[in-house]
């Protein structure tokens, strides 16, 4: 590893560059029940689903999403068991590759807020062929009073806020589409220390 001479703190290393997930992760990363954070039929279970779209509005058939979330009371689980789900442990993490129509679907529970004054959300990571690095975003729960005062949402142009709020479907499920580019482009996030 090359020494980082230009930074004042010698402990700070330059992050390794990301690269696209490519087209051929399908035999490697998705796994059985990866998208089922709780077993279907669990009391309080909800479906979080949507479509990943490109700049022409065409579904992206080779994208993968991961979500990280709190439990309904706002606690963030830090327990193993995501890769071999036994149906008894809520790990708060899941992975779903989209289908040929660009659609994904998680079965989970609605997260509670982790901080007083902030609105509850799913943290979302998006990967795809053609996407050179992962993207971070958030899917907020709809109909929450706390959306108004949320720190992140209130810092966005009003017309873009909606891209981060899931919608409630007639069947009670949550719909959250990801638009990589163009009209209604989803707000994607950079965190401090991410470099560029």
């Amino acid at each position: 590893m090359e020494p980082v001479m230009s930074t004042p703190d010698p402990q700070q290393l330059v992050p390794t560059a990301g690269q696209t997930i490519g087209p051929f992760y399908g035999f490697a990363l998705p796994y059985e029940r990866g998208h089922e954070l709780v077993p279907p039929g669990t009391p309080g279970a909800v479906r979080l689903h949507g479509t990943v779209l490109d700049g022409a509005g065409v579904p992206v058939p080779d994208a993968m999403l991961e979500i990280r979330q709190a439990d309904p009371s706002g606690n963030v689980p830090a327990v193993e068991g995501s890769l071999r789900r036994d149906g008894t442990v809520f790990t708060g993490w899941g992975r779903c590759a989209v289908d040929p129509g660009g659609r994904y679907s998680f079965t989970t529970v609605e997260p509670g807020a982790t901080d007083e004054g902030s609105a509850p959300f799913f943290a979302v990571t998006v990967f795809a062929r053609g996407l050179l690095n992962r993207l971070f975003t958030r899917a907020y729960l709809p109909g929450e009073e706390r959306l108004e005062g949320d720190r992140l949402l209130s810092g966005l142009e009003p017309e873009r806020r909606g891209t981060l709020v899931a919608s409630r479907e007639d069947d009670g499920s949550l719909r959250f589409d990801v638009r990589l580019q163009g009209e209604g482009e989803t707000v994607f996030l950079a965190f401090p220390r991410h470099g560029r």
């Binding site: 700070q12 690269q19 035999f27 490697a28 071999r84 062929r129 053609g130 580019q181 994607f188 220390r193």
Partner: protein
């Protein structure tokens, strides 16, 4: 289809306008044709991580079998190819080891063919190789995979386009914000300058960090060749204070 010369010309033009502070790939990198409609056009929104974003998922021994780190262990026989071991450490942006965390890898076989059903490359499948592995890092952040060297393979980005041999890596840190997926390359590959995916990382120093080095200490007598590749994730936030004098701007 575009020629390699046309693609290389585009790459050169973008590199001339890049700057040394760029350590991550451009999302908007037209020489990689699939990126044209799949990159955000608006700047990423700078946000402070909150709550769940500060806690990575946890994986443990109930999730990963140690045997999954040896991709050459296959029922019925051994894969064809140059047997290698890839070792290294996963560190965070402050140089601290990432302990007990999941590392996932996937790759083509020695002929440059993936078992994925959408891979139509006219090269043989290997009945004894799936090209998928997992492990958990040790207390020092170390990982180790035994596998065979993947072959380069053609793709349809442009006329006579070939990907340099690579292994895909999927990584987690201690925070959700550190999630990353990347590719490890092999030293001395003549395809590097021709490849728009690697060249989307515009700085030579940053590209060099994606290339493993040969490590004779890892090689084993009459058995395999060793490669070493360390991975640095982004910095964590839990105990990090933004520098007040602006010295940290380059990391923002």
């Amino acid at each position: 289809m575009d020629t390699q010369a046309a693609i290389s010309g585009e790459i050169d033009g973008i590199h001339r306008d890049s700057d040394v502070e760029e350590t991550q790939p451009r999302l908007d990198f037209a020489p990689y044709r699939s990126s044209v409609l799949r990159h955000p056009t608006k700047d990423l929104h700078h946000a402070d991580p909150e709550g769940v974003e500060l806690v990575a998922p946890v994986f443990g021994h109930s999730d990963v079998d140690p045997l999954e780190a040896d991709l050459t262990l296959q029922p019925g026989g051994e894969p064809i190819g140059e047997r290698i071991r890839v070792v290294g450490r996963v560190l965070d942006g402050d140089g601290r080891p990432v302990r007990g965390q999941l590392v996932e890898v996937w790759q083509a076989n020695a002929a440059g063919r993936y078992i994925h059903k959408r891979d139509q490359h006219h090269a043989p499948l290997d009945p004894h190789f799936t090209g998928v592995g997992r492990c958990l890092t040790g207390d020092d952040g170390s990982y180790s995979f035994t596998t065979i060297k993947p072959g380069p393979y053609p793709w349809r980005n442009h006329e006579n386009a070939w990907r340099p041999a690579h292994i895909h890596f999927s990584l987690f840190g201690s925070e959700f914000t550190q999630r990353m997926v990347t590719q490890m390359y092999f030293p001395g590959d003549p395809l590097f300058p021709l490849d728009p995916i690697l060249q989307a990382v515009t700085q030579q120093s940053a590209r060099d960090r994606l290339v493993a080095r040969y490590d004779h200490e890892v090689s084993e007598h009459e058995w395999l060749l060793g490669l070493r590749w360390d991975i640095v994730l982004t910095g964590t936030h839990a105990t990090w204070m933004e520098p007040s004098d602006g010295a940290g701007d380059e990391h923002a």
